[in-house]
Amino acid sequence: MKIKAKNDSAFIQYLLHLGDNALIMSHRNSEWCGHGPALEQDIALTNIALDQIGQARNFYQYAAVLINESSNEKQTEDSLAYLRDAWDFKNCLLVELPNGDWGQTILKQFLISAYQYYLYLELQNIQDEQLAAIAAKSVKELNYHLRWSADWVMRLGDGTSESKKRMTDAIDAVWSYTYELFEVAEYENILSVEMQCKIREAWIEKIKTVFGKATLAIPNSQWKQRGGKLGVHTEHLGYILAEMQFLQRAYPGSEW
């Protein structure tokens, strides 16, 4: 595998992509805070949102250092989160989709947690110390996210007829967004083809196992929604950013 030059712009794009996935997912999860179906689950999902915001900060801080080293810019974790527009965001569409009900939220969380888990497992061996360290720290958190969300998929899939129907509907609603996770953008070339295959295979294996225990089926539809990784988003991201960035935009240059 080729070793990245520190100021490689593809590598910076990749860090932003990782950070954006974590930040937007955290945003969606944080919308549940105070509104969960039980206090324990409210706490659990907020925990995940907190981990994700921590991961986003690590990726952004690292990206900011690299950007500033290679240009006259003065980026920070906050300028990257709060002052870029939708077309600059490189998150997968899956993470920006609305929460829907608890079932859809859980399903999205499971699909993305499984992806991040296997991805970070690989990234912790990558030849960039800093990224490998962030991945190694994150994979411990992902271990919990994956276990928690998989448990809930099994509970809801194999619960009551209503919960099964809701999970089936949720799968129908989001499945077409899962393909994008594995459509490799140019800036992802830090991952070898071998790694990419490994991640994809581990992911699909995990989904099959958990769906099996949950008595849920993987849909046949092959239609693929794509665009997020390249900055072409759903209508939802604009609203997320409008809300998230409001204060930074309304009172530019302030300390908070």
Partner: protein, 322 residues
């Protein structure tokens, strides 16, 4: 010489021996505690709403993480307190039912809106600050499970107050607009915070009994005064003003004098007419109703698994160890 259960009970309290769930206790003590602890638990949970309102709009990633952690702590406080109340023979579902039907109250402070970002700081500094005044003495309350829950709660509350003050401190050193946010939030939260200590002592009929049972350690007015004295000093660091023209240091009493509290507003909010009573209760009810299918599914799944496990454990299969 025989002494009555009632007298034994009071003797224990006088000797600072904790009352535990299985101990004999007067019915009125039990009921008062269920009311107090569940009301406290509801306050923690309803209190997540006004602050949760700003999580998605927090102005930096650091503030967002702090706020998320803080609101999550409040959920945890709710859990400890519901568990403490359950030891007195009431279920969490029953307590929720009382909250949703309006029979149980929660702290009126959470019926006020969070209108600008500085409200998050003001809640931490003033609301959590007032809560600490009320809660520190509760760490020594006579009922064991409540006292122990409060020890854990109080540890986290001091972090809440510090982050709130620090949030305002940054704003107070910031731009003109940020200073304006800061003062605006203080103006709106100050009086409702003074009301958090409850009615004046001479209008608080249960105070005597509750002090004797050591459910209450200080009177409402004493705690309120302590709070005023603390905040009147701390606000100087922010360079802001408390919205009370009568606030001034009194040499003779060695306390701050303060103006008249609008008790009419207090009772109106208690009775459901505050700016956000309807929204807060609706949000809680909605979360509960929307979560019904989830809880049912979890129960159904657990029961199915129970059956699976017990059918797997056929007596012949159990290895009793060698």
């Amino acid at each position: 010489m025989q002494i009555s259960l009632e007298e034994q009970f009071q003797q224990k309290i006088d000797q600072e021996i904790k009352i535990e769930p299985k101990d004999w206790m007067p019915e009125k003590y039990r009921h008062t505690l269920i009311r107090q602890i569940s009301q406290h638990a509801h306050s923690e949970v309803v209190g997540m709403l006004p602050e949760g309102n700003w999580i998605t709009r927090a102005p930096s990633l650091k503030r967002k993480a702090i706020l998320l952690a803080k609101v999550q702590d409040e959920a945890g406080h709710g859990l400890y307190l519901y568990s403490a109340a359950e030891t007195l023979g009431i279920s969490r579902d029953e307590m929720y039912e009382q909250l949703h039907s309006g029979r149980a109250k929660y702290s009126s402070i959470f019926n006020y809106p969070t209108l600008n970002w500085a409200d998050i700081g003001a809640i931490g500094w003033l609301v959590d600050g007032a809560a600490i005044m009320n809660q520190v003495p509760l760490c020594r309350t006579s009922f064991g499970p409540y006292a122990r829950a409060m020890v854990r709660v109080c540890k986290e509350e001091s972090f809440h107050q510090r982050q709130g003050f620090e949030c305002l401190w940054v704003l107070s050193k910031g731009t003109e607009e940020q200073k304006k946010m800061c003062q605006d939030a203080i103006n709106r939260w100050w009086w409702p915070c003074l009301m958090m200590f409850g009615p004046k002592d001479d209008e608080s009929p249960n105070t005597m009994q509750n002090m004797q049972w050591k459910i209450k350690r200080f009177t409402n007015d004493a705690l309120r005064q302590k709070f005023v004295d603390m905040i009147a000093e701390q606000i100087k660091l922010l360079g802001m003003k408390l919205p009370d023209p009568d606030l001034k240091w009194n040499e003779a009493t060695a306390h701050y004098d303060y103006g008249k509290i609008n008790w009419d507003e207090f009772w109106q909010v208690v009775q459901g007419n505050g700016p956000c009573n309807k929204e807060r209760l609706a949000a809680r009810k909605n979360a509960w109703d929307e979560g019904a299918w989830v809880r049912e599914a979890a129960t159904a799944h657990a029961e199915k698994n129970q059956i699976k496990i017990s059918s797997m454990l056929h007596p012949n299969d159990i290895n009793l160890g060698s």
